[in-house]
């Protein structure tokens, strides 16, 4: 494995990822997280070479998003869930996303501490990821990283996101199924959760179900999910005690059945379409932000009189977009010939 990825050895990296080699996967994710031009080349090559989902024995990768407030026991639960999934023969990858410090840009990533009981099992890959300034609780490159893990043949990909307030919604942009983990005794949070979180979950897990307050929390959640009008299928509420592994097999079964049901109703497909759209829009948004930044550098933030050049920017950006659209139109016509 080369120490530095370059244009010359990129194909080695691609081969390594497709063969499911840890070091290659790890390197590829680092590349995806960077702004290197090789990143796009890598993603393209992986797309071309990876086995299509329809050919795979497992029918393609499933992405499970797990979110919830800090201290709910998400990481421990994931550790247990991975163990059960392994027993069922699944290859599992976990992406644990934690916030970057807004001050230093650094991050302290300690989630795998509680999930990493799988030692040297080659069927498990865990990667910690810093959110690097993106709100919504997910790293900007999370979806692209998921595509690397898909290419590497992981049938089950679990994404754990920082769950604070509204930001859980970000997990919708990449998961086939969303699991919300809550802990009893956090009763006052339920009101707050109702607003955002109660609309995103396919399964609600009350962890630490041996706590005395657990039952009242389960009741509250039952009432809340019955009111949820957004859900295609009424969400389920389950109990677990992650530290003892209790309820985890039932959860694993429920995840499988849920995915099946969502698939039958075409919901998985529409979620996928939605998230690809969102991701592409985000990529474009990033590029345009970059364009605007450069534009501001050229023109200054304000004109000498102190006015903000709203109109000028919008006109010039629209003109730039126009040329792209024209070119794309030409290309489409050429394709048609």
């Amino acid at each position: 494995m080369p120490h530095r990825v370059s244009a010359d050895n990129l194909s080695d990296l691609v081969r390594g990822v497709l063969a499911g080699k840890n070091r290659a996967i790890a390197r590829a994710i680092t590349l995806v997280e960077s702004a290197s031009p090789l990143r796009d080349e890598l993603l393209e090559q992986l797309r071309e070479c990876a086995e299509p989902a329809s050919h795979r024995a497992d029918g393609g990768s499933r992405v499970i998003g797990i979110t919830g407030p800090p201290g709910a026991g998400k990481s421990t639960l994931i550790g247990e869930l991975v163990a059960v999934a392994r027993m069922a023969g699944e290859k599992v990858a976990v992406l644990a996303v934690d916030p970057s410090s807004p001050f230093s840009g650094g991050a302290l990533l300690g989630d795998r501490l509680r999930m990493d009981r799988h030692g040297l099992d080659p069927g498990v890959y865990i990667r910690s990821m810093a959110s690097r300034g993106r709100t919504g609780g997910l790293s900007p490159s999370a979806l692209e990283t998921v595509s690397v893990l898909t290419a590497a043949g992981f049938g089950t990909i679990i994404v754990e996101s920082v769950g604070v307030g509204q930001s859980e919604v970000g997990i919708l942009t990449l998961a086939d199924l969303v699991l919300v983990v809550l802990n009893p005794g956090a009763g006052d949070e339920i009101q707050a959760l109702k607003a955002g979180v109660m609309e995103i979950g396919d399964i609600y897990v009350v962890n630490k179900a041996d706590y005395p307050e657990a039952e009242s929390m389960v009741r509250t959640l039952h009432a809340a999910v019955r009111e949820s009008i957004h859900a295609v299928i009424e969400p389920r509420v389950l109990r677990t005690i992650a530290t003892a592994g209790t309820g985890v097999e039932a959860l694993h079964r429920e995840i499988g059945e849920r995915l099946e049901a969502l698939n039958e109703r075409g919901e998985l497909e529409s979620r996928r379409r939605r998230r690809i759209t969102t991701a592409l829009q985000e990529i474009a948004g990033d590029l345009f932000s970059e364009w605007v930044r450069a534009w501001i550098e050229r023109h200054g933030l304000t004109d000498p009189q102190g006015g903000v050049p709203f109109g000028k920017l919008r006109r010039e950006l629209a003109a730039a977009l126009e040329t792209i659209t024209v070119r794309e139109g030409c290309m489409d016509e050429e394709d048609a010939k």
Binding site: M1, T30, S100, F103, L109, R112, L120, S128, A130
Partner: protein, 136 residues
């Protein structure tokens, strides 16, 4: 290239004193690095596995029990066996002066005794990144 520096702070062996390891992890975070912390009681094998999965450039080992002569070189050795000798290994904890030359010879690039200012660790990391590291 805007690659973020990723550092693994690991505690090999059975020693449960993690005050120093946690401090260094937090302090490096506050200096802009992405730090992965393993928790206590890691085997050299699992440390190397994590280092590779996380694609870190540095592994910092902390140990206070006196088992550093056995465990630190083992980590370096296993990294080499995985073709990951580019990952820089450094260490800290209660390590007597007379053990330091042996550890360096085994491939541990720097050893920081208790009380080392964090600036010194940061300087070492930056020197390694720019390829100008002197062994400390």
């Amino acid at each position: 290239m805007s690659e973020k520096t990723r550092i693994l702070i690991a505690k090999p062996g059975l020693d449960g004193h993690d005050r120093g390891a946690k401090y260094i992890a937090r302090a490096l975070r506050d200096h802009g690095y992405e730090v992965i912390y393993t928790g206590i009681r890691q085997t050299p094998e699992s440390i190397v596995n994590i280092a590779i999965q996380e694609d870190v450039q540095f592994v910092g080992l902390s140990l206070l029990s006196g088992a550093h002569n056995e465990l630190f070189p083992r980590v370096v050795e296993l990294l080499r066996a995985e073709g990951a000798e580019d990952i820089v290994v450094f260490g800290g904890g209660i390590i007597p002066d007379y053990d330091i030359p042996g550890l360096k010879e085994a491939g541990v690039r720097a050893v920081f005794p208790p009380g080392t200012p964090i600036a010194e660790v940061v300087q070492f990391i930056e020197q390694c990144r720019t390829g100008s590291a002197q062994t400390t």
